[in-house]
């Protein structure tokens, strides 16, 4: 007979499952963590290579000559910016028109739900200026974008200057098969969001903007430039976008190939590449680089102006010029040549970039780990949840071994009604909804009653609701009709474990880093929590492993990785600002991390909290 239909064999399997459940779970957990750490080990990674045939090698002649003139333009831009006190729209329009582009502007305005203390803005009004270089012989069906943000103060002037210099040089060439749009956006991400929404005729975030008068075709690729000094020592590539989405790996490969051809030092996550992968310090260096990428991807925020393009299936990356204390400096002409080479190669594209990976991790700029290699790490953690669910199912279906009172036994054997499981579920999710909706809604009342600013009010309300959820089990048990039974908590835990497995699985598919980090903390607590473990210690562990504390630890860890460790006070303030940024990102750009945590992960965690305090 078959393996599963033979009752003897089935009993043997089930007994093995129940006996070995805990050891297998522990082994799986450590295997998952070890697999993840092993991803940064160089022999387990692959070298990057160009997958798109149309882009081929770096066989192109770069002839951009006007780096110095670009820097002079940048200085002019800075002067006009200071004079106007914002974006010098008229100067930019005239300058772009003189260079032969078709220039258009777009004005936008947005009132943030509460003031943004990091960037000090609340009611944002701005103008985007963009010039379109029409392809001389091609129909206007495809476009490429080069953008530079107009930042307040002294930053990014050279970027705008270089953008204008490149526009003039590109205008004189006849080999463009796609329109090139040169965009200068104000208020960085907010302006970019307004421009993209106007370009694609969507309105997902409730911003008000004037419609775009001029348009190119469908955008195939975009690069955003951030350059704040006349000479640089290295170029940093930023890939992580909104909701942890990444551009096609071919874009990173293209950048790396040109860096090698032209001889510019290129980094990712701001960390240089090292050759000594077999030494401990070399390995820890790559682990740090990879962990930085994981942290940035998990946060779900766009780490450059390019991050918002990815949602429209436009491959985009940000190139940052870094000027540190190194001997070998690169001037603006060389950067211009690198960009020219990249754009000539992107010009050769016939379809959107799709040949290379969309899901990957980069422990260094020349090596990558694809989804097929990193998913088993998450899979091993998810298996723990499934094993636990199987174990609970078996326990629910076997009759209890010892009985004292036959009558009461039969009563207990009837499975607890759906209602008893439904109550904790509904109440947890209502708490989640409260955590999602109330902080912003009640910020005015909070400001009236407490001496805090609006931002602090929102964040502290969120934390307060989060902590208030901890008191729930004591209250909801009074609402339950009868006492909780042994079967009751098992059913609830089964539901909760399966719910967590589905939730983490879906999250890991879209944003692997977020799913993996949540799994690292939530899976152990989901596995071991029962009403019978020691209460105080387990409560403490549960709180430590809850999403909010995970975020707190991540903040400190992230600062450590960037070699800028913070003290506890600063770390706490940083933590509060991270929460406020998360809520703002959600309402401004549609980032999904905050709703995910508030509406789905937190209620799930509350279910486990409920199980711990089950009576």
């Amino acid at each position: 007979m078959g393996l599963l239909s033979d009752p003897n064999r089935r009993r043997a399997l089930i007994s093995m499952l129940t006996r070995l459940n805990a050891p297998i779970c522990v082994v799986c957990y450590f295997a998952g963590v070890a697999w993840f750490m092993g991803l940064a080990f160089e022999p387990f990674t692959l070298r990057t290579y160009m997958s798109e045939n149309a882009m081929g090698s770096t066989m192109v002649e770069e002839r951009f000559p006007a780096g110095e003139r670009a820097l002079a333009t940048g200085r002019e831009f800075a002067a006009h910016k200071k004079k106007v006190g914002g974006m010098p729209v008229d100067w930019l329009v005239k300058n772009m028109q003189d260079r032969g582009l078709e220039v258009f502007t777009q004005s936008f305005s947005r009132t943030l739900p509460f003031p943004d203390e990091n960037k000090e803005r609340y009611i944002v009004k701005g103008t985007n200026v963009y010039g379109i270089l029409r392809a001389p012989r091609a129909p206007r069906t495809e476009a490429l974008v080069l953008s530079a943000p107009c930042s307040p103060g002294d930053s990014n002037n050279q970027a705008v200057g270089l953008l204008l210099g490149l526009a003039q040089y590109f205008r004189n060439q006849i080999y463009w098969a796609k329109d090139i749009i040169f965009l200068v956006n104000e208020h960085d991400l907010i302006g970019m969001q307004a421009w993209l929404e106007g370009y694609h005729h969507t309105n997902t975030t409730g911003m008000s903007w004037s419609p775009l008068q001029g348009r190119g075709g469908s955008i195939q690729a975009a690069l955003s430039l951030e350059l704040s000094s006349d000479v640089i020592t290295s170029l940093d590539l930023v890939l992580e976008g909104l909701n942890g989405q990444l551009p096609n790996l071919d874009l990173a490969n293209l950048f790396y190939a040109f860096c090698q051809k032209i001889g510019v030092l290129c980094t990712i996550q701001g960390k240089l590449q090292r050759n000594d992968w077999d030494s401990v310090s070399g390995y820890s260096h790559t682990v740090q680089t990879m962990m930085l990428m994981v942290m940035k991807q998990a946060s779900g925020r766009p780490w450059g102006d390019h991050g918002l393009f990815l949602r429209y299936h436009i491959e985009a990356a940000t190139i940052k010029g870094v000027n540190s204390f190194r001997q070998y400096k690169t001037d603006a002409t060389t950067i211009g040549r690198l960009l020219e080479g990249m754009y000539r190669k992107l010009n050769n594209l016939l379809e959107r970039l799709h040949q290379s990976y969309f899901f990957y991790l980069m422990p260094s700029l020349s090596h990558f780990v694809s989804i097929g290699y990193y998913m088993p790490a998450f899979g091993l953690l998810a298996v723990i949840l499934l094993l636990r669910a199987l174990d609970l199912w078996v326990q629910l279906n076997t009759p209890p071994s010892t009985t004292e009172d036959g009558v009461a036994d039969i009563d207990q054997q009837s499975s607890p009604g759906v209602l008893s499981v439904l109550t904790p579920l509904v109440i947890s999710h209502l708490t989640g909804v409260a955590l999602y909706a109330l902080p912003i809604r009640f910020q005015e009342t909070a400001v009236e009653h407490f001496p805090v600013s609006e931002t602090e009010a929102v964040v502290l309300t969120a934390i307060a609701i989060y902590t208030a959820g901890l008191a729930l089990p004591h209250n909801t048990h009074r609402l339950l009709s009868g006492e909780g039974t042994e079967q009751g908590w098992r059913v609830l835990k089964l539901v909760a474990v399966l719910y967590l497995a589905v939730l983490l699985g879906c999250t890991a598919l879209i944003n692997f880093s977020l799913g993996f980090i949540l799994a690292l903390t939530l899976v152990p607590l989901a596995a071991f929590v029962t009403p019978h473990v020691p209460k105080v210690l387990s409560a403490f562990i549960l709180v430590i492993l809850s999403p909010a504390c995970t975020l707190l630890f991540s903040v400190f860890f992230f600062q450590e990785l960037q070699e800028m460790p913070v003290s506890f006070q600063d770390g706490w303030l940083l933590y509060l600002s991270v929460i406020s940024q998360g809520i703002l990102d959600h309402s401004l750009y549609g980032s999904l991390v905050y709703p995910l945590i508030a509406l789905l992960v937190y209620p799930c965690w509350l279910l486990f909290w409920n199980i711990l305090f089950w009576k």
């Binding site: 045939n53 149309a54 081929g56 066989m59 192109v60 002649e61 392809a135 001389p136 012989r137 091609a138 060439q173 006849i174 080999y175 463009w176 098969a177 000539r344 190669k345 010009n347 050769n348 016939l350």
Partner: protein, 361 residues
């Protein structure tokens, strides 16, 4: 007059009287610039050596000269630093763009074109034509890719050549292919009088050559590049023979190993001139006297009369209308089916009782 009459016999003793060329580039897209340049270089040589446009069927799957990405519009270069423009100003492309398909190529070869096809798109060869067929593009073991969407296999090609032989559409055929694993394409030929050359053996890739930074693509493939250099030295009166063509592009230059096949060819390759295929050498004898050609001309070199060939009937209507229609699929005889159903019904009524009959009647 008698001497001239005899030499008229000598006039018709060589094998072919006209030359045709079918030159096909099967790839499109800008990064396959080199395949178009390959085909155009062979076109240029063939035209230079005398074959007129009316006898050349040129099939180019994409237009590189007017591609938006071409920094030198209206040119296709075959040497880097833009030394040689093979596009020129008198290129006549017969099949362009999406018209280059496997079906059209096979129809050109076999002559089965719709009546509306213009003459420039037809291969109007006869049994005294020497045809040069040149194919280039992306290929593999046993196939050649057309336009990124279909393939022609070596078996199909061999069958097409056999059709040409049976319809007496060629005297001798020279087949040159420049693709990866090109030798696999001529493995299956079985018709007589075919000589084949390929740029690489099975399992080898044909490599590209001439990277040009200004244009941004590779301009030629190695084999055709060296073949073009070899052909540039040929002029209409040169006596270079096929053995020299076999030596073009040794492994040191080509990296792949070019191959050739001569077992189906009746003449010795050493006696075959390059211009027999690449050029259109016309034998002209000037005479001031009139020649009276009344008797059938006997060939001088005294070989016995060749077998008289007749055209195979393509559509044997008489056979069709006088024959019973052949049954396409086999059906069981009608009586068998009737008996089967009777048996089924009997078994049914036996099992369930005769009383159910009243439900039916």
């Amino acid at each position: 007059v008698c001497a001239l009459h005899n030499s008229a016999g000598q006039f018709f003793s060589s094998g072919h009287t006209n030359n045709w060329a079918v030159l096909v580039c099967t790839s499109r897209f800008w990064f396959n610039y080199r395949h178009v340049a390959n085909t155009l270089s062979v076109y240029r040589s063939v035209k230079r050596l005398g074959i007129p446009d009316s006898h050349i069927v040129l099939m180019l799957a994409d237009d590189m000269a007017c591609n938006h990405r071409n920094p030198k519009p209206a040119t296709v270069f075959s040497h880097k630093n833009m030394e040689l423009n093979v596009y020129g100003d008198d290129v006549e492309v017969d099949y362009r763009g999406y018209e280059v398909t496997v079906e059209n190529f096979l129809r050109v070869l076999t002559g089965r074109l719709p009546p509306s096809t213009p003459r420039s798109k037809r291969l109007l060869s006869d049994d005294r034509s020497n045809i040069l067929i040149y194919l280039t593009g992306h290929g593999g073991n046993g196939f050649l890719k057309f336009q990124d969407s279909e393939e022609i296999s070596n078996v199909e090609l061999a069958d097409a050549f056999e059709q040409m032989w049976q319809k007496r559409r060629y005297n001798e055929l020279l087949f040159i292919i420049d693709t990866c694993q090109g030798a696999s394409m001529y493995e299956r030929f079985y018709s007589p009088n075919i000589m084949a050359l390929a740029s690489s053996q099975v399992g080898e890739d044909s490599l590209s050559h001439q990277p040009d930074l200004a244009i941004g693509v590779h301009l030629m493939d190695r084999y055709t590049f060296y073949m073009l250099e070899f052909l540039e030295d040929i002029h209409p009166a040169s006596k270079t023979n096929m053995n020299d063509l076999f030596k073009v592009c040794p492994k040191s230059q080509c990296v792949s190993t070019p191959g050739h096949r001569t077992d189906l060819f009746l003449r010795d390759p050493g006696s075959v001139l390059i211009t027999d295929f690449f050029g259109s050498v016309r034998k002209v004898e000037l005479t001031m006297d009139a020649i009276n050609l009344t008797d059938p001309i006997n060939p001088v070199n005294g070989e016995e009369q060749k077998e008289v060939y007749s055209y195979a009937d393509q559509l044997p209507v008489s056979e069709i209308i006088h024959q019973k229609p052949k049954q396409k699929d086999w059906h069981p005889p009608d009586g068998f089916i009737l008996g089967l159903w009777t048996l089924i019904l009997l078994v049914f009524f036996k099992t369930y009782g005769i009383k159910h009959l009243k439900h039916i009647f």
